[in-house]
């Protein structure tokens, strides 16, 4: 009982710590549509808060998973990704000191890549992802398209104020690399590199949720 009081006391002390995180999606494409993808979830900026949260059983009515549970969940996802046709060289790392989680793999085509993304979602979502084609590569027009179907603003309305704060400072970054130079991109926030072969798009979760911005983009490459 006293231990519990102390834990609550501790969490109270840290509840003013900022919580934010970044998600980074890096994809390098070869000419034939194959390539390499790295997905990074970086919660390092919130580590003080996460460390104190890990001491508790639940926060805001959400169960706090243990380190073992998180590891098991990651292992499950990795196992599934390994079984996808067209996926090879699957690697992952979990850094519980800084709370950085990375998954990377090679893919033979964008369909395989879509399957990887769908593995992080529920079954129902996964079906929609397949249908919606989050990644597509039109070789005849030399166009790469990043899409997504989530209506975040609707999902966001359902969450309560306490949970919303978590997303206020979160960011999402996408970086795509190609062998041919980029001619144009439809998302005005995206920046093309000096070499013209890479493009980066960094958006705040807040803007995505409010439909002010998105990670959707259409990139045209030189033939």
């Amino acid at each position: 009982m006293r231990k519990k009081i102390f834990k609550v006391f501790l969490l109270g002390l840290f509840s003013f710590c900022t919580s934010c995180f970044e998600i980074i999606e890096e994809v390098s494409f070869n000419k034939d549509g194959s390539g390499h993808v790295t997905l990074t979830m970086n919660l390092s900026q919130s580590k003080t808060k996460l460390n104190s949260m890990m001491l508790l059983d639940s926060v805001n009515n959400y169960k706090v998973p243990s380190k073992t549970e998180i590891k098991n969940k990651i292992a499950q996802v990795i196992q599934k990704v390994k079984q996808i046709e067209g996926i090879s060289n699957v690697q992952n790392s979990s850094n519980f000191n800084e709370y950085i989680f990375v998954v990377s793999c090679d893919f033979t085509n964008v369909e395989a890549l879509n399957m990887v993304i769908s593995n992080f979602s529920s079954k129902k979502e996964a079906a929609i992802i397949k249908q919606q084609k989050h990644f597509s590569f039109d070789t005849s027009k030399n166009t790469f398209t990043r899409n997504y179907h989530y209506d975040l603003s609707k999902a966001f309305e359902k969450t309560n104020m306490e949970d919303r704060k978590v997303f206020e400072t979160a960011t999402m970054t996408t970086i795509y690399r190609f062998e041919s130079p980029i001619v144009s991109s439809k998302n005005p926030t995206a920046k093309i590199s000096g070499s013209k072969k890479a493009i980066m798009l960094k958006v705040n979760a807040q803007d995505v949720i409010k439909n002010k911005n998105s990670i959707k983009n259409q990139i045209k490459l030189l033939k």
């Binding site: 460390n51 890479a198 980066m200």
Partner: protein, 572 residues
């Protein structure tokens, strides 16, 4: 003359109605809540209340739900007598539990107009009373009184008596589900009418304990006849399903937590809101409670308390040794009664426990005195990992720093085993978990686990933990400045205190971290709330008293107004 008689009769009937409403509550009620409308109206007028935006929102909701053309725009329009007392009371038989609300009406037509057309169709008239019933409740009213009764049937009772009910000729060919529904609604109606007509047996107003519990200055009062029984009864829904027969267990449960009656009163004073509670300890438990709660905090603790240097604190002063010594007997008394078949087992395990524990040694290691003090919030630089990108967007991992708010605190735990604790410290030093400083020690916690430093020392029968090197150095070198003010009395006279200096604490909250709505709430709180505490007294006679007090500014006349304005600020 006749006219005068008539007037007198009318007057008497009015007076008797006013008195009668409370007398209708049966003395078998296990809990009663009275709401003193008249006292509330003194603190905030009906017009003032009606003008709040949140009140207008409620009226709007009510209006949307009813089909009538009558528009509610004031709390008066609900038809209830706001200027009088209203009651909630809980009653229970072996088969059904009842939640009852009793309130006076000023205008029955207004109340009826709030009902939906579907509800209105359910109303039946019987002997001058209007009755509306559904599957879980019944409402009975006349021109000046309304009783609402919600009910729950006891699972176990109906399981045990299924055969008997189904054997009755009138139930032939009817499903048990329907039979149960018929029986419960019939019994509930009889129960409600009995209360309404005042045939409910002896009245609660004959109970001395109940009458003594109430304070006419309170806006609301709560009275619980027997806390242990009430809690056990509420849980017996669960126990029932596990097959424990409830009535016998219920009787022995009346001693389960050692608490008999509980009374509480809520006050809205000019500059404070107070909730006082009083617990009556049952005679078997009085000795235990007394020895556990009536220990005095070691005076040395006061030397390390400075009221100018605190945002909040918690103090406990209990006697660990007494608790451990009494525990085996408590176990038998608590669980032996509700599990009579296992009385010997419970008894034996209690004695074994006492054999294994050295109560005195544990009592010396942890005396039971404790003080947690939150002194301040400071800023501290912490590092984090992120990425930077070159011109071709190749990422590079970099370490950056940011400022984080960290607490500055001190924890004091009473202990007479200085030699033992020092041995632990020496072992810690040997294994490099603890570093030896000048007369005190620093615990080597990995930075990732705690963003602050932690210092420890044992002195004057107190084990100290603090985040501040300055404080621990002052303790060791006898330089700590004490300043107790009103807190010495508060800590000394109570077994536990939880105090928050709201004004100071709010001023420390980093505004940049708050959302706009939270900021509005904080701004209002900063201007209107001062400090607050919870205290629980030592045992006096056979009673333990506790109080929650929130001091408010007097900007709104009284604290009820302050809280309504707070709701208003939140509802914007």
């Amino acid at each position: 003359m006749k006219k005068n008689l008539l007037l007198a009769a009318v007057f008497i009937s009015f007076v008797s109605i006013a008195q009668n409403i409370e007398s209708k509550i049966p003395s078998s009620s296990e809990a009663v809540i009275s709401i003193n409308g008249d006292r509330i109206i003194e603190l905030i007028s009906i017009t003032e209340f009606d003008n709040f935006n949140f009140a207008k929102k409620i009226f709007k909701k009510v209006n949307r739900k009813t089909d009538s053309t009558f528009i509610v725009s004031s709390i008066k329009d609900l038809g209830f007598d706001i200027n009088s007392k209203a009651f909630y009371f809980y009653t229970r038989t072996d088969s059904i539990s009842y939640h009852n609300f009793l309130v006076k009406l000023t205008d029955k037509n207004k109340f009826e107009s709030l009902l939906s057309t579907r509800d209105k169709e359910k109303i039946i008239s019987e002997g001058g009373l209007h009755i509306m019933a559904d599957n879980s409740s019944i409402t009975v009213w006349n021109d000046n009184l309304l009783l609402f009764t919600g009910y729950e049937k006891h699972y176990n009772y109906f399981k045990e008596n299924e055969e008997r009910f189904m054997a009755e000729p009138e139930n032939e060919g009817v499903s048990y589900y329907k039979v149960k529904k018929k029986i419960t609604s019939r019994w509930t109606k009889a129960h409600a009418l009995n209360i309404f007509k005042g045939h409910g047996g002896t009245s609660i107003s004959n109970s001395k304990n109940y009458i003594a519990s109430k304070d006419k200055n309170a806006v609301a009062s709560v009275w619980v006849q027997n806390y242990s029984q009430l809690i056990f009864g509420a849980m017996s829904g669960i126990y029932n399903k596990m097959g424990v027969s409830s009535l016998d267990a219920l009787k022995s449960a009346s001693n389960l937590y050692g608490v008999k009656s509980i009374t509480a009163n809520l006050y809205f004073d000019e500059e404070a809101t107070r909730l006082t509670t009083q617990m009556e300890v049952s005679s078997e438990w009085q000795k235990t409670f007394k020895s556990f709660y009536n220990s005095k905090m070691n005076k040395n603790f006061y030397n390390y308390f400075n009221q100018n240097d605190i945002l909040a604190y918690m103090s406990f002063s209990m006697n660990t040794q007494a608790l451990l010594e009494e525990y085996p007997a408590l176990m038998t008394s608590m669980y032996g009664g509700i599990m009579p078949n296992y009385k010997e087992e419970v008894n034996l395990s209690g004695e074994f426990l006492s054999l294994l524990l050295d109560e005195e040694a544990i009592g010396e290691l942890m005396t039971g005195d404790m003080l947690f003090v939150l002194n301040d919030f400071g800023e501290k630089e912490v590092t984090y990992t992120t990425y930077e990108y070159d011109e071709n967007y190749k990422s590079k991992e970099v370490t950056k720093t940011k400022k984080e708010v960290v607490p500055d605190f001190m924890i004091m735990i009473g202990s007479k085993k200085e030699a033992l604790l020092n041995k632990v410290v020496r072992l810690g030093i040997k294994h490099k978990l603890i570093a030896n400083k000048e007369g005190y020690y620093k615990i080597n916690v990995p930075k990732k686990d705690m963003p602050f430093d932690l210092y420890v020392v044992v002195k004057n029968d107190i084990l100290f933990f603090t985040s501040s090197e300055e404080k621990i150095s002052n303790i060791v070198n006898n330089r700590y400045v004490k300043n107790l003010g009103k807190h010495q009395k508060l800590i000394k006279n109570n077994s536990s205190v939880f105090y928050i200096n709201g004004e100071k604490l709010i001023s420390k909250v980093p505004v940049s971290e708050l959302s706009r709505k939270e900021r509005r709430y904080f701004d209002y709180a900063k201007d209107n709330l001062k400090d607050a505490y919870f205290k629980s007294s030592k045992m006096k006679g056979n009673k333990i008293q506790s109080e929650i007090k929130i001091n408010t500014s007097n900007s709104h006349g009284n604290s009820l107004n302050v809280f309504f304005n707070l709701i208003e600020a939140l509802a914007k």
